[in-house]
């Protein structure tokens, strides 16, 4: 099983080659070198074959041969690094490999005589022409003869020229790849690359699979020897045909408990099943995971449904799609589906294996409210329709309501009663910072000054081509200084495009987007934008540097400390490596960097996605606090629970157009003037 993990590492990383390769040819070997340095040669070979194959299909023979040479260089550099060898080894390897790789093009051109003649003639003519032009410049008369001599030499001794330049070029790319890999690999050491579901179990024959009824008692679990216990003393029983919910906050150990149910052996304690769990096998255990887009393995919906099934198994694709409400979607691309649809497709892929036990691990956390309800309805109906047991992992108390039985988990232990935040909004622990009651910026006469105004903004991707997509249509909107604006929209409503336009990253196709009266795309950076994908936004090796880099020249260590306090992180985190942070911490560090920059407007794309109620409450309090301090905030989200404390206005975006503005969400608790009627 582990080999496929390696292969996947390979496949996904190398896919990066293609956009990178066109931009910076010298960096092309780097992703493959990372693969070579982290996994076994077999994965590198698979990766090299896949990259070359994909490049061939995408860009033809020439590009494919270039990628092939990159793969060889990556192999040399990565393998040397993996074996822990140093500079002497790589120098020796360069001395041997560079002349050989340089020689390959000589041999190729030696065989392909007409191509060589064409190339050399074109080169000679170009150089002679250039020499002629330069020669006409007074004072450079001798140049033409010199260039002519040079080109004649190059044409006569083409093999030497090509061989030498090829050798030097290869040597340079090896050196660059070695240098970049050296700088990159240690920083990537913190990235977890473990397949936490991998049980190392042998392929079971079908007869031995029987995951239910399951009796687990006294389960302790630690990911490594000596690591803190994630679960301690958990007892659990699962019977056929039940709908069980496991509820707990982030870090309560619920995902780990799921892995034990799915077959990972616990550190201590016993798990009894009549047979093997049979993860992903027929009549075994099936899982649906948290992130919709990473679970889509097939390109088209129907392909994804059957992906990974044994060749001899036939499933009724249409019936399964109909069951999850995706009838007729078979030919659609999986990447075009909304998050909710992708999750339902993942459920269908699980059903294709007719499991006895279906585990849904936080499947709704990245999905908009409508998609969430659809998934929950689907899951709740499965025990009755198929007689299977469904285990739903969630941090939302409401979602557990439909379950036959609710198991509460808190810090790795079972608790009899729901923690007091369930259903929600009750007795939240005090935020890490104090919240002075400001008089509110409403007293400020400059309060209603418009900051960001959008006038009939339209944006279409690839206009005029067959792929054109209208993302925004005639959006007019005004954000005033001190506003808290919530833009609500489902998947595919154009809200992310709107955020990019407002930050000046996209120039509107029609209409204008102005910041303080000037076009915002001339002032990129003055409007801060927090993307949903936190890791890509963190670029420095450690947290302190990251916040300083994001904040700008005048941010020093004192300011770093201040913003860390503000986002509720300990100051000691400033020295931590970026990749050793948890997902929630990464998000706070991004926020800290954005605050340090003191943007005129702060736009946040889905700041609450995937957070449990505690973390949500903390982030909401932080944002409310910032806004009371006068920060203008725009939040883009499908999820508006609790955001009323941050936002005084709410607009709804659907299919690229703004819907009539909803009633004010201001609840009178926070400061902020009533600003209606911004629609023109």
């Amino acid at each position: 099983m582990a080999i496929f993990g390696g292969v996947t590492v390979a496949a996904v990383v190398i896919a990066a080659v293609i956009p990178v390769a066109t931009a910076v040819g010298l960096l092309a070997p780097v992703p493959l070198a990372v693969v070579a340095a982290r996994t076994r040669p077999r994965a590198l070979i698979a990766a090299a074959v896949a990259t070359t194959g994909v490049t061939f299909a995408m860009a033809g023979t020439g590009a494919a041969s270039g990628v092939f040479i990159s793969a060889i260089i990556a192999g040399i550099v990565g393998d040397t690094k993996r074996r822990g060898r140093g500079l002497p080894t790589i120098a020796l390897a360069t001395l041997i490999a560079a002349p050989l790789i340089g020689g390959m093009s000589v041999v190729l051109l030696w065989i392909l005589k007409p191509l060589r003649e064409l190339m050399l003639t074109a080169m000679k003519n170009s150089l002679d022409g250039l020499g002629n032009w330069v020669g006409r410049i007074p004072g450079l008369d001798g140049t033409e003869d010199f260039v002519n001599g040079l080109t004649r030499n190059a044409v006569d001794y083409w093999w030497a020229w090509i061989w030498i330049s090829g050798t030097i070029g290869t040597a340079i790319s090896i050196v660059v790849a070695w240098w970049v890999l050296g700088a990159v690999i240690d920083r990537l050491a913190d990235v977890p690359a473990e397949d936490t579901l991998d049980q190392g179990q042998a392929l079971a024959d079908a007869a031995a699979i029987a995951p239910l009824p399951l009796v687990a008692s006294g389960i302790d679990f630690a990911y490594r020897d000596g690591a803190p216990l994630v679960l301690s003393g958990v007892d659990l029983r699962l019977y056929p045909g039940e709908f069980v919910a496991i509820v707990g906050a982030n870090g309560s150990g619920k995902s780990t408990l799921v892995k034990v149910i799915a077959g990972r052996p616990p550190t201590r304690g016993s798990v009894h099943r009549p047979g093997l769990p049979g993860l992903g096998r027929r009549s075994g255990t099936a899982m649906v995971l948290q992130r919709p887009e990473s679970q889509m393995l097939g390109s088209r919906v129907a392909d994804d449904l059957v992906w990974g099934l044994p060749d001899d198994v036939d499933v009724d694709v249409e019936a399964l799609l109909a069951e999850v409400g995706l009838a007729g979607f078979g030919q659609r691309e999986t990447s075009d589906l909304s998050g909710g649809q992708q999750q339902r497709l993942a459920v269908a892929a699980a059903l294709a294996r007719s499991p006895q036990l279906l585990i849904a691990d936080e499947v709704t956390s990245m999905v908009d409210p409508r998609g969430r309800d659809e998934i929950l309805d689907l899951l709740a109906g499965l025990p009755a329709r198929h007689g299977m047991t469904v285990v739903l992992i969630t941090h939302r108390g409401v979602e557990a309501a439909a379950a036959d039985r609710v198991i509460h988990l808190d810090q790795g232990r079972l608790v009899a009663h729901p923690p007091d935040w369930i259903p929600r909004d009750v007795a939240v622990p005090a935020p890490a910072f104090d919240e002075p009651r400001h008089p509110g910026p409403a007293a400020d006469p400059g309060w209603t000054r418009p900051m960001l105004s959008l006038d009939r903004v339209s944006y279409t991707y690839l206009p005029g081509s067959p792929w054109q997509v209208r993302a925004l249509h005639e959006v007019s909107l005004q954000v005033n200084a001190g506003d808290g604006l919530l833009i609500v929209g489902g998947n595919g409503s154009g809200k992310t495009t709107l955020a990019w336009v407002m930050a000046g990253l996209l120039e509107p196709g029609r209409g204008t987007c102005e910041l303080d009266g000037e076009s915002v795309d001339k002032h990129v950076g003055e409007v801060g934008l927090g993307f949903q994908h936190a890791r890509l936004q963190l670029q420095r090796a450690n947290v302190g540097d990251e916040i300083m880099a994001a904040g700008g020249l005048d941010v020093g260590t004192t300011e770093v400390g201040r913003v860390l306090d503000l986002v509720g992180l300990p100051r000691s985190i400033a020295a931590r490596h970026t990749d050793s942070l948890s997902g929630g911490q990464m998000r706070r560090v991004v926020l800290a960097g954005l605050i340090a920059r003191k943007p005129k407007v702060l736009i946040l794309d889905e700041p609450l996605a995937g957070l449990d109620p505690y973390a949500r409450e903390e982030i909401v309090s932080l944002l409310a606090h910032l806004r009371r301090g006068g920060q203008t905030i725009v939040i883009i989200s499908h999820d508006y629970d609790g955001l009323a404390r941050v936002c005084n206005r709410r607009v709804v975006l659907a299919e690229g157009s703004l819907q009539p503005e909803h009633g004010q969400t201001e609840q009178g608790r926070t400061a902020g003037p009533d600003l209606g009627g911004n629609r023109r």
């Binding site: 990383v13 956009p19 033809g60 064409l118 393995l297 990974g308 690839l462 081509s465 994908h533 300083m548």
Partner: protein
């Protein structure tokens, strides 16, 4: 992004070309590529151009799909043409145009494959084309999975590159001599971010694969070469032979 890129996605449609087996199209691209490498003559280039134009017409590729390269692209070609013709005159110009056309038509033929073929069919087709390697005990099935996942991951990664570039643009720019983290060069940082994100994504995908019990089928609908594919291949090979003959005769 203001730059017009060539979307590597299928152009919607259903034509003779769309219905061809993906492997056939790849073989044609490979054959044309090898032909022009071995024999970069006008007849050979003419054949490739003819195949490209006829395929595009049959597939009903709209004019809007053709990428509009930036002005400097044409500018560079014009400068190159001028340079070549100053010394060598017409002959030089024609040689230069031949070399330029060589590159362009080959890329065009590849792009046409992507525009007329569902991504999902490329991996199984490549696997089938590589099948003879199985006799050499090469893990062809594993490679097919890798290719399929690579193609699947591509749109996600392009999106991540886009975000990475946006993040870079949003950052404050400081004078390079300032001794502050915001002044340091960011290329290594960007590579680390991209790699870290790709590694995280790949472990998530690896878990998704494990959750499905490992690898197996790649596509729901099997596509295999039919009679039409044989006909097309024969025509293309005859065309290649004709181009070779024409080059020798002329």
């Amino acid at each position: 992004m203001t730059m017009r890129t060539v979307p590597l996605r299928r152009v919607p449609g259903d034509s003779l070309v769309h219905r061809l087996w993906a492997g056939t199209k790849l073989i044609v691209v490979l054959a044309l590529g090898i032909l022009t490498w071995v024999l970069p003559s006008w007849p050979a280039l003419g054949l490739v151009a003819a195949v490209v134009v006829i395929t595009a017409l049959i597939a009903g590729i709209p004019l809007g799909a053709i990428p509009r390269p930036p002005w400097w692209f044409w500018g560079l070609i014009a400068i190159g043409a001028a340079m070549n013709s100053t010394v060598a005159g017409w002959a030089g110009l024609i040689v230069f145009l031949r070399a330029t056309a060589l590159g362009l038509v080959l890329v065009a033929s590849s792009v046409l494959v992507i525009w007329t073929t569902p991504m999902a069919e490329i991996a199984p087709a490549l696997a089938k084309l590589m099948a003879p390697l199985r006799r050499l005990r090469m893990p062809v099935d594993e490679w097919a999975v890798a290719i399929a996942l690579c193609l699947r991951g591509l749109p996600l990664l392009i999106e991540e590159m886009r975000i990475l570039r946006a993040v870079h643009r949003l950052r404050p720019k400081s004078p390079p001599d300032a001794d502050h983290p915001s002044a340091q060069m960011g290329i290594i940082d960007m590579i680390v971010s991209a790699m870290s994100s790709a590694l995280r994504r790949s472990s998530e995908m690896a878990e998704a694969i494990t959750a499905r019990g490992g690898t197996g089928r790649l596509t729901a609908y099997e596509s295999r070469p039919g009679r039409l594919d044989a006909v097309i291949l024969v025509i293309v090979f005859l065309g290649c032979a004709a181009a070779v003959a024409a080059t020798i005769v002329l």
